[in-house]
């Protein structure tokens, strides 16, 4: 088997195994209802994680997405409360803002040659600050269009529902997979992760690719914010704290190398499912406490970092022998 599929295979194996174990204990977990909820509950995280996957594949990191999600929610809530703007127009507007915001961070990272970590940390403060400035309260969104959107779903056999936002997440993943593997932009993202200097020598447009990657992450964080506001029907500037961490974790558990250059968008989806499954199991169990989620996810993260380390080690040995 090709080495690059190894982490992804491990992820899928762990997911299937743990799903089987859960199902053996609680057969209900197999119902379409649970599966539908899994999609709906993790929709916003999944969409943001797609953007994070691209960023990490390129060897960067984006700490701002949680704040951008919160900003988007507050922005929508404030706009819909105080103006008569149609939600769709507000969506387009906020997506433009978050995309530009991401592009700006990308430009700073590239042109000022600063680490992505600290630039997006500033972005994190800025976006959360803007959200605070708009409003510090949790503002409910009561626009009838929201109710319409929330009413849209596809009924699965067995009573489960694929809601609009759950379906949207799957769509974003599908587009993300195409973008990563079937476009020149996608290859360029992997190229940056393989080594910026070499990529530049080989003619990859480093500047525009970097800016596009963070713009994409901003766009998807904005979309995730819209989904989050649909999910909660409110905008709150303290919402979605730490989502960037969950997204990074999903990406790594999904088999993407944190150093960049290797991984799959589809893996991130499995990473999201694993996190969701752990939560679902703990809910089903009832006696287990929620903190086990964090500990288990931390342990998984550690296991995958070690696995990746081992694979890199192995491939280096292989090449020496070859």
């Amino acid at each position: 088997m090709k080495q690059k599929y190894l982490p992804l295979t491990a992820t899928i194996f762990i997911f299937v195994l743990s799903y089987a174990l859960c199902a053996a204990q609680y057969p209900n977990i197999l119902s379409t209802r649970v599966i539908g909820n899994l999609l709906t509950d993790n929709a916003f995280l999944g969409i943001a994680a797609v953007g994070m996957t691209f960023v990490i594949l390129s060897g960067g990191i984006d700490l701002s997405i949680g704040s951008v999600i919160a900003f988007t929610g507050v922005f929508l809530a404030v706009v819909l409360e105080h103006t008569s703007m149609h939600p769709l127009v507000a969506f387009a507007l906020v997506l433009m803002i978050t995309t530009l915001f991401g592009a700006l961070m990308g430009a700073i990272i590239h042109y000022l040659e600063m680490p992505a970590f600290i630039v997006t940390l500033a972005g994190m403060f800025l976006a959360r600050g803007m959200a605070f400035v708009l409003s510090i309260d949790s503002i409910p969104i009561k626009h009838p269009f929201y109710a319409t959107l929330k009413g849209l779903y596809y009924k699965l056999p067995g009573g489960g529902r694929i809601t609009l936002i759950g379906g949207l997440m799957l769509l974003v993943f599908a587009i993300g997979i195409l973008l990563a593997h079937r476009t020149r932009f996608g290859t360029n993202v992997y190229a940056l992760g393989g080594g910026t200097a070499t990529a530049k020598l080989m003619g990859v447009p480093v500047a525009s690719t970097t800016v596009s990657i963070y713009a994409l992450s901003g766009l998807l964080a904005g979309l995730s914010g819209i989904v989050f506001s649909l999910y909660t029907s409110a905008g709150y500037s303290l919402a979605a704290v730490g989502v960037e961490l969950d997204a990074i974790t999903a990406v790594v558990i999904g088999g993407t190398l944190l150093t960049g250059g290797s991984g799959f968008v589809a893996g991130t989806l499995v990473g999201i499912f694993i996190q969701g499954l752990i939560q679902t199991y703990i809910t089903f169990d009832g006696s287990l406490s929620s903190w086990w989620t964090k500990i288990l996810i931390g342990a998984l993260l550690f296991a995958f970092i070690l696995l990746q380390k081992g694979i890199i080690h192995l491939s280096r040995d292989n090449r020496k022998r070859a």
Partner: protein, 341 residues
């Protein structure tokens, strides 16, 4: 000796100016700001308040400075604070003495540091990734210890650390002052500081010169863990309870920011603990200032973001090359030709 003092002051000058400017700006909008008064043998006033409330970030910044000087970063300090606060609370409530509690808590902090250090120095994992593990899992571990509740305690000794006072100053201030001076003395009166800087600048050359790199790297993370433990104790003592969810939340970012404001480069090398402490106090002064001056506290984060962007631009290699001729004539190092091996 005087030249050393002078270079030291020159190093701290930007931070001192920034702090003075922040304080001046606040006192202009809020007249009573600089007032100090003594009640019951204890100093009160906004300035003291800044020093007191800044204690956790100051402590974290001390350890973070050393870690960053080795070209590393420690994302786990906030989570370690939560763990240690939880450990302290659970020990004291289960009837252990104050000394035992403190000892065990500090040991737990050190243990967390050893964990991070081993991942970084022995397993050779990137610091940002290595410490992410504990950042994610740590808060869960803390909740496990407190069993999800806010674990409150009434032990006067422990509470004293958070809200007591000594020699007119609040205990947290005393703690970080003493600890900061101790660490600064430790790194500057021994050769630790120089060796750490050497590792941060060029790990390979340092190892070839006989520097015991792995041990020093682990030590840096241990110090960071210890700082987080002390910060965790103070935070818990302050609210008389361990809040696993919120103790130290996002403080790792404030600590990193304090180090950056203190002028230590994120790329490792030269560091100054005093400058980082000033960095932390500047951040706290801005927080307090915004609160006092009637500005909505919401602007806090935006100002932080602005500070980062400002410092980023100043530190950016592009910016430096563009303005190098203004600062240090001829600093552009001569490119030495190297044949491919």
């Amino acid at each position: 000796m005087t030249t050393i003092v002078r270079t030291y002051l020159a190093r701290l000058l930007p931070q001192l100016i920034a702090l003075a400017a922040v304080l001046a700006a606040i006192s202009m909008t809020f007249s009573g700001f600089l007032n100090l008064e003594i009640q019951n043998g204890r100093l009160y006033g906004s300035l003291i308040d800044i020093l007191n409330r800044g204690a956790p970030v100051v402590l974290l910044a001390i350890g973070m400075t050393v870690v960053i000087a080795t070209k590393g970063i420690d994302l786990s300090v906030g989570a370690v604070m939560a763990i240690c606060g939880a450990v302290a609370a659970s020990f004291i409530t289960s009837g252990h003495s104050l000394a035992e509690t403190l000892l065990v808590t500090l040991a737990v902090g050190i243990l967390c540091g050893i964990w991070n250090g081993i991942l970084v120095a022995i397993l050779d994992i990137q610091p940002i990734i290595a410490t992410l593990v504990l950042m994610v899992a740590g808060r869960g571990i803390a909740q496990l210890i407190t069993e999800g509740a806010i674990l409150t305690f009434n032990e006067p000794g422990l509470i004293f650390i958070g809200s007591g006072s000594f020699a007119g100053l609040p205990m947290p201030v005393i703690v970080w002052l003493v600890f900061g001076i101790l660490v600064a003395l430790l790194v500057r009166r021994t050769a630790l500081g120089m060796l750490i800087e050497a590792i941060g600048v060029n790990r390979q050359a340092s190892t070839l010169s006989g520097v015991f790199t792995p041990v020093l790297l682990v030590a840096a993370y241990v110090l960071s863990g210890l700082c987080a433990a002390i910060a965790g104790i103070i935070a818990a003592a302050d609210i008389r309870g361990a809040d696993a969810n919120n103790a130290g939340l996002w403080l790792e970012l404030d600590a990193i920011l304090a180090v950056v404001v203190g002028g230590t480069s994120l790329l490792g090398g030269r560091f100054s603990i005093a400058a980082s402490v000033f960095g932390a106090i500047i951040i706290q002064a801005i927080n307090t200032g915004i609160l006092l001056s009637g500005f909505p506290p919401e602007f806090n984060l935006i100002i932080k973001a602005a500070i980062i962007v400002f410092i980023l631009v100043l530190q950016s290699p592009r910016f430096r090359t563009a303005f190098a001729f203004l600062t240090i004539p001829g600093r552009a190092a001569k490119p030495t030709e190297r044949e491919a091996k």
